[in-house]
């Protein structure tokens, strides 16, 4: 009997239609847990660095984690892996919702797609019965529409369906995979799915998921339950509302958007609007938010209410979550939320990432205003802000006219447009659009997270450590008083000594050594969450979460039957992270790519930033190029990785490596 995992993957060859149910090696769980951990291993083994995003050999993997389908609160992530069309790295966007539990109940840990289908198809998984079905009649349909249509066609209202919209079909680089209230959005998974002519996956499962020591698991969960209740009643003091609670940010629940609307940049990640959040705006936005939201909803097995059912005026009902509420309005400089509810519906049907896409549209508007894009490019475009955004969104989703260029994201669009457009694609890291944040003083912790993580998206890297120094000693003392989540007592001192101004302030405090330790801790938690497919909002993404390094080993041991302690767990996720890093190194990622946007902070410190990066690399056991050293890889039982990197010339001096990279291109 396999515990916490089903022990089977589905292997789908879309070219031939061949479907196989394959038993997995039980030893993989001991080495990589599951979820992202085992998926990274799968890519290392099967997708060589020469594989391009739209090659048939690129895999598209839907993965569950060890805790999906168990009673563990908030274990509801589905991780989607593929080589990204946007930056060729191994991407891992994830979605909440109900999909992964259903996959486990159907009896599968992962669904692995290879090659391309000759015609449009969707996959229907009903326990042991798995079939590819014709989807030619679904082509052009919206992502939401498709989900509802398939449930009806299958006469299975309980099926969970993940689908792409027109944007995915047209291989838009910011195309998402939509599923109920959730989506796997970042880095173009929808485009890879569309490239494979896979319109959707529907799943229904009625089998058992086993735990090794269920009664012990439930006893541990009672402690988690009590802490969730405690935290819901006791928000963290002295931080902004949005950071005070647990769960994914409660964007649908909270109406107070002073912080986002005044601290995040508007337009093409350009301007902060201090004083925007007036009484009138607060009243208008709160009213519109409440008008639009019919019910607050959750993902599978989660008591929080981060999502909502939206039904606004004549907009058909849809479900939303998170920051998409603000991104379109802010990017378009539209001062009302009415526009947000309307355009978010269309964006959801098209299936696009609501972080990158609004920035692409705002980028186009800026280029037009600067005369780099012309009336010819904008022929037929309405002149009002709202109409313009709808028009541009339509063009991008269908790759029509200028939309075809924009659909590759700001980095590639700027290259194609030329004529100075590059300066307008100013908010990317590793070719990927970032949150529209433009701040003042360089922050050493964020500098490292932005620069180095494989996620290339800050929201799923940060979390357990406060985002900024508390203004007073009393506040710091209050914060550290009750902080069982920390891996080491020393972190309390870092918070106590961290001040908003003076010697112990950004950019020199926390010191490079401290910043490396803090970042390592936060990354570790994210890697654990992602192996279990637990929502980061209950683990790595928030202050004082219910799950942490001290209770995770106990829960994992009870669930899997492996005897695992903190050191053992740390080693496993370090292994995953280093394997992922080595994979991306092979794809060409090196020190020169590891930097936040030039204008991310007004005050920059190039020498200090280099020192931060070097210190962090050393701490991680990586060389000056950000490549894991042979020694580090051997420690982590990744000798085969060291051997491969050696063969590819990664351990020669810097000059040789550059040449080697160029050869590969």
């Amino acid at each position: 009997m396999r515990y916490a995992e089903t022990g089977y993957n589905l292997e789908i060859d879309l070219a031939t239609g061949n479907i196989e149910r394959v038993e997995t090696d039980p030893g993989l769980m001991e080495l990589h847990l599951g979820g992202l951990g085992t998926s990274v291993k799968l890519f290392w083994d099967r997708v060589p660095p020469e594989t391009k995003p739209f090659d048939p050999e690129n895999l598209l993997v839907f993965s569950t984690g060890l805790f999906n389908g168990t009673p563990a609160f908030s274990a509801n992530r589905t991780i989607v892996n593929f080589v990204s069309p946007q930056n060729e790295m191994l991407a891992y966007p994830m979605m909440g919702g109900f999909f992964s539990a259903e996959m486990k109940y159907a009896g599968y840990d992962k669904v692995i797609f290879r090659n391309k289908s000759p015609e449009w198809v969707y996959l229907w998984i009903h326990n042991d019965k798995v079939e590819l079905r014709d989807a030619t009649h679904l082509k052009g349909k919206g992502a939401l529409e498709t989900q509802e249509f398939i449930k009806k066609e299958l006469r299975e209202p309980r099926a969970q369906v993940a689908a792409i919209g027109p944007a995915g079909e047209n291989r838009v680089f910011t195309a998402s995979i939509e599923q109920g209230r959730s989506s796997a959005s970042r880095l173009g998974g929808g485009a890879v799915m569309g490239d494979k002519r896979l319109k959707a996956i529907a799943v229904r499962g009625t089998k058992d998921v086993h735990l090794a020591r269920g009664a012990e698991f439930m006893e541990l969960l009672k402690e988690i339950r009590d802490y969730i209740n405690f935290r819901n009643e006791n928000p963290v003091a002295n931080v902004m509302t949005i950071l005070s609670g647990i769960g994914s940010p409660q964007e649908m629940k909270h109406t107070d958007e002073k912080w986002h609307s005044e601290n995040f940049a508007w337009g093409n990640a350009r301007k902060r609007r201090k004083g925007f959040w007036t009484k009138e705006i607060e009243e208008s936005w709160s009213t519109t938010q409440r008008e639009g939201i019919k019910r607050l909803i959750s993902c599978f097995n989660c008591p929080q209410q981060c999502g909502a059912l939206i039904s606004y005026k004549d907009t058909p009902p849809y479900m939303a979550k998170c920051f998409g509420k603000l991104t379109y309005s802010m990017a378009a400089y539209v001062d009302n939320l009415d526009f947000a509810w309307r355009i978010l519906y269309r964006a959801t049907e098209y299936g696009v990432d609501s972080f990158s896409t609004p920035q692409i549209l705002a980028f186009a508007v800026e280029l037009y205003e600067a005369g780099i894009l012309t009336d010819k490019d904008f022929e037929g475009c309405p002149s009002d802000k709202e109409g313009r955004f709808f028009w541009l969104l339509d063009r991008v989703a269908h790759r029509e006219g200028i939309g075809d260029v924009l659909a590759d994201g700001t980095y590639y669009a700027a290259q194609r447009i030329g004529n100075g457009a590059e300066a307008y694609a100013h908010n990317t890291i590793k070719k990927h659009e970032q949150l529209p944040l433009k701040l003042s003083m360089m922050d050493p912790i964020y500098y490292l997270m932005y620069s180095t993580n494989e996620k290339v998206s800050i929201t799923q890297i940060e979390g357990n450590f406060p985002q900024a120094a508390f203004p007073t000693r009393e506040m710091r003392e209050e914060f550290v008083r009750d902080w069982p989540q920390i891996p080491d007592e020393k972190f309390k001192q870092y918070v106590l000594d961290w001040e908003p101004r003076g010697d112990n302030a950004n950019p020199y405090y926390p010191t490079p050594d401290m910043a490396s330790e803090i970042v390592d801790w936060m990354e570790m938690l994210h890697n654990i969450d992602d192996a279990l497919c637990l929502c980061a909002g209950m683990g790595s993404f928030c202050l004082k979460p219910p799950y942490h390094i001290h209770n995770y080993p106990k829960l994992i041991s009870a669930a899997t039957g492996m005897d695992i302690d903190e050191a053992g767990l740390k080693k496993i996720v370090n292994r995953s992270r280093n394997l992922h890093r080595a994979y991306n190194n092979r794809k060409g990622i090196t020190r020169k790519d590891e930097k936040p946007p030039e204008d991310h902070w007004k005050f920059r410190f190039p020498d200090h930033e280099e020192e931060l990066l070097t210190t962090y690399y050393t701490f991680k056991g990586w060389n000056e190029n950000g490549v894991p050293t042979k020694e580090r890889l051997m420690e982590l039982d990744l000798g085969y990785v060291a051997e491969d990197l050696e063969k590819r010339g990664f351990y020669q001096n810097g000059q040789d490596q550059e040449e080697n990279q160029n050869d590969k291109d």
Binding site: G69, T70, P71, F73, F98, A101, Y105, L144, E148, P157, G180, R181, G205, T206, K207, D208, V209, H210, L211, A212, R213, G214, A215, F217, M218, R225, I228, N229, K294, R295, L296, I297, S298, C299, F300, N301, C302, P303, Q305, L309, S311, P317, Y318, M319
Partner: protein, 176 residues
């Protein structure tokens, strides 16, 4: 007829508070698993969330009596502008649908209120106070004493004859 007091166990369901997470289903299936808590499968749960998210319908329903046949017709209710299929409120394991049946055997499931525990597990684990356990006393009509039944039967026998009564009882019991 005289009234007597009887203990009634109730789970009060505040459907408006339900965010549709289905933890109740997982916990119910794990509690009733053998060995207890060692496996999870909402399809085996005796509570099911009947849901149609885009129509704003989330209704927790508990498994009740087994019904050998489906209803002759199925009505629809419109409440607060939302259209509900009658089955959305029905507790029966019946041929019209696949809920409240063991997925392997098809045998009907019935909520046992987690007899022996302080309260049903779904109630204990729901953190949004959707499910509230209540025990209340209700006055019910006292069942007639055997003597009264005998008097009644005698009067019927006088009217129809004992043989006719016996035939009718036999036919009724065959129908089950």
């Amino acid at each position: 007829m005289a009234k007597i007091k009887k203990k009634i166990k109730t789970i009060k369901i505040d459907a408006d508070k339900c965010n549709g997470c289905r933890l109740c289903e997982v916990v119910c299936s794990a509690y009733h698993a053998t060995p207890r808590w060692d496996s999870n499968n909402p399809a085996r749960s005796r509570i099911q969330i009947i849901k149609d998210p885009l129509k704003d319908i989330w209704i927790p329903v508990f498994a009740g009596e087994y019904a050998p046949a489906e209803c002759m017709g199925r009505d629809k209710y419109i409440i607060d502008g939302k259209e509900y299929d009658e089955c959305a409120f029905c507790r029966a394991a019946c041929p019209s649908r696949d809920i409240f049946k063991e997925p392997d055997s098809g045998l009907p499931l019935k909520c046992d209120m987690c007899e022996g525990e302080d309260q049903p597990q779904c109630v204990e684990w729901c953190l949004n106070d959707v499910l509230v356990f209540e025990e209340r006393e209700e006055e019910v009509e006292e069942q007639p004493e055997e003597g009264a039944l005998e008097i009644g039967l005698e009067s019927l026998a006088d009217k129809y004859g004992m043989e006719k009564i016996m035939e009718t009882v036999a036919r009724m019991s065959m129908k089950g």
